[in-house]
Amino acid sequence: MTLLTTAPADLAPALVPPPATRTLTLGKAVNTALRDAMAADPKVLVMGEDVGRLGGVFRITDGLYEEFGPERVMDTPLAESGIVGTAIGLALRGYRPVVEIQFDGFVFPGYDQIVTQLAKMHARSLGKVRVPVVIRIPYGGGIGAVEHHSESPEALFAHVAGLKVVSPSDAQDAYWMLRQAIEGDDPVIYFEPKRRYYEQGDLDTTRPTRPLHGARVLRQGTDATLLGYGPTVKTCLAAARVAEEEDGRSLEVIDLRSVSPLDFASVAASVRRTRRLVVVHEAPVFFGAGAEIAARVTEHCFHHLEAPVLRVGGYHAPYPPSRLEEDYLPGLDRVLHAVDHVMSF
């Protein structure tokens, strides 16, 4: 199956259906994408712990079991290695499994299957085998949860060749990026910003032109670029507004959307305009996605930079007990602090 990237805009205007826009939460957008993908392709399966009758602990698979039955919505035994490993087998057999991992911290029993098998099978078979498994992981903090329920392990997957790693920040992307991930033939780790599940957004059901891995400029600015993905996009937008109101600063905001592959061209174009970059993610900055972006910006945009690329993110410490998470997470104040710093050069 090929990724549909043909722009509806290329079609004659008369053929473009009127945009069917509706408002829903990010979580409901994921749910709708799953339902539509299952309706569109009988090979799409949903599997994971409690995804059936319960509809998942976040209700993201709500109603799918009733609609598609236990053959296609599979409550699995409690074993992440088993879930990912059998999803690989199902994919080899022509299915398109969409796996739900209940929380970020619980993907690791399945990490071996993901890294040593899922990521490498296409290459090892010299392209003969395709393993279109999508692994959905609710990730990130800010919900006051207990240990292992608030982590951001995206760099641990982006580091592995063969895996694609994406994270939507709003309902529109949540829907379309999941549809595209399921339609693509590569394994995709699809990170869902769980603390944004309940945020409302508009969903335009006409297929977008933006490819799965393209970044998106959400706000244009001239003084510096703020780059986030998943849960930190909203923080970046808020910071840009405050910086404008309080300090008259004009900040550009980019939603990266895809950690692997990176849409570096969009990032570089923005940095060449604003000459300053702050990367914001919840994951620890040490060896995080921001480190890769900063290195690339230095390599490719060195002469355009007025300041070093700054990173705002988690510390090199285990995710703290939830009463401390606001001190650990890159909140508005820390982002603004970094903006002050990057502007001071």
Partner: protein, 371 residues
């Protein structure tokens, strides 16, 4: 709720031995050919006290969560006998590896329940010293601790220590590869470890039928260790069976799998809504097997206790609950700088750097009065 796919499964017809039982649901003492137990009236009253206290502390956890004082609470309601019975078979020198619902075991081992509540309040990720009471940290990643217990037991054997390890986990956990690996390592090394599986019939929304096609205690067969199913709502049977298994382990006769057949009366945690996946008739069926009610009936019928004793136990438990409530509410917020504490045993330059950076950042607010 008998769902279509549940009816299809052979769960209801598969072969299982009757669980070991020494106290019937209506409080009668019965004998078992393999497991006898001699308990004094005082011990019986002690078990009763432990279970009532466990239930009371647990109820406090649920209440405090409802009041917004805790982030989450996994209730042990219904599993008091499994936890207290097995925990009272643990001796000094033994070592317990709990899961996350084992508050009754923690209490029996002398762990301050405030430490458990602090964890679910989001104040710590554990924090107690496992050596203080032979009680390891709670483990939230399903099944992992079975391997740690096995390794610990292997170490005990190497040291020639007389103790044994006991590890707690759920029915859902038995599906994890780690748990099968633990069974196998324990068997291969004859490790002095007891695998205490609380089969409370549910792993969040999934019934045990979705985890296994054989009764869980029979898993042991394939690994070459004995497996036994015990009535998990019978505190005497849980005590007797665990005591025997621990004794076997301590004497160098290797590991045992104990499956305590019980029921999770409450929600999975305070975040869960069990009405979405299970039927109230099932809950009512198990309510009739309540572990505390059956020991109470037995104590009264045998005149080993009177109403005054029961009242005093309730009163004491209630006081403990109220004390906890006050302590939780007044628990100080943790110091943000603690984020950087104990990340490494031997230190790490990056942590030091970030700690200093964080301190400067915090101080900048003090100077400017925040921004």
């Amino acid at each position: 709720m008998e769902s279509a796919d549940r009816e299809k499964s052979p769960g209801s017809t598969r072969e299982a031995a009757a669980p070991v039982q020494l106290l019937t649901p209506d409080g009668r003492r019965v004998e078992h050919p393999e497991y006898s137990i001699d308990v004094s009236p005082e011990e019986l009253r002690g078990l009763y006290r432990d279970m009532v206290l466990a239930r009371r502390v647990d109820a406090e956890g649920v209440t405090l969560q409802r009041q917004g004082e805790l982030a989450l609470w996994p209730s042990l309601l219904g599993q008091e006998a499994a936890q207290v019975g097995s925990a009272r078979a643990v001796l000094d020198g033994d070592h317990v590896f709990p899961s996350y619902r084992d508050h009754g075991v923690a209490l029996c081992r002398g762990v301050d329940p405030l430490a458990l509540l602090a964890m679910f309040r989001g104040v710590s990720n554990g924090g107690w010293d496992p050596e203080d009471h032979g009680f390891h940290l709670y483990t939230l990643v399903i099944g992992s601790q079975t391997l740690h217990a096995t390794g610990y037991a292997m170490g005990m054997a190497k040291d020639g220590a007389h103790g044994a390890a006991v590890v707690y986990f759920g029915d859902g956990a038995t599906s994890q590869g780690d748990v099968s690996e633990a069974f196998n390592f324990a068997a291969v090394y004859d490790a002095p470890v007891v695998f205490f599986c609380q089969n409370n019939q549910w792993a969040i929304s999934e019934p045990t039928e979705k985890q296994s096609r054989v009764p869980l205690y029979r898993r042991a067969d394939g690994f070459g260790l004995p497996g036994v199913r015990v009535d998990g709502n019978d505190v005497l049977a849980c005590l007797a069976v665990t005591r025997a298994a621990m004794q076997r382990a301590r004497c160098g006769q290797g590991p045992t799998l104990v499956e305590a057949f019980t029921y999770r009366m409450g929600a999975h945690t305070t975040s869960d809504d069990p009405t979405r996946y299970r039927d109230s008739a099932e809950v009512a069926h198990w309510a009739a097997k309540d572990p505390i009610a059956r020991l109470r009936t037995h104590l009264l019928d045998t005149a080993h206790a009177d109403q005054a004793f029961l009242d005093e136990v309730d009163h004491t438990a209630d006081q403990a609950g109220q004390r906890l409530r006050a302590l939780v509410r007044s628990m100080p917020a943790p110091d943000p700088h603690a984020i950087f504490d104990h990340v490494y045993a031997d230190g790490h330059s990056l942590v030091d750097e970030e700690r200093a950076q964080f301190a400067r950042y915090e101080a900048s607010f003090a100077e400017t009065g925040g921004n």
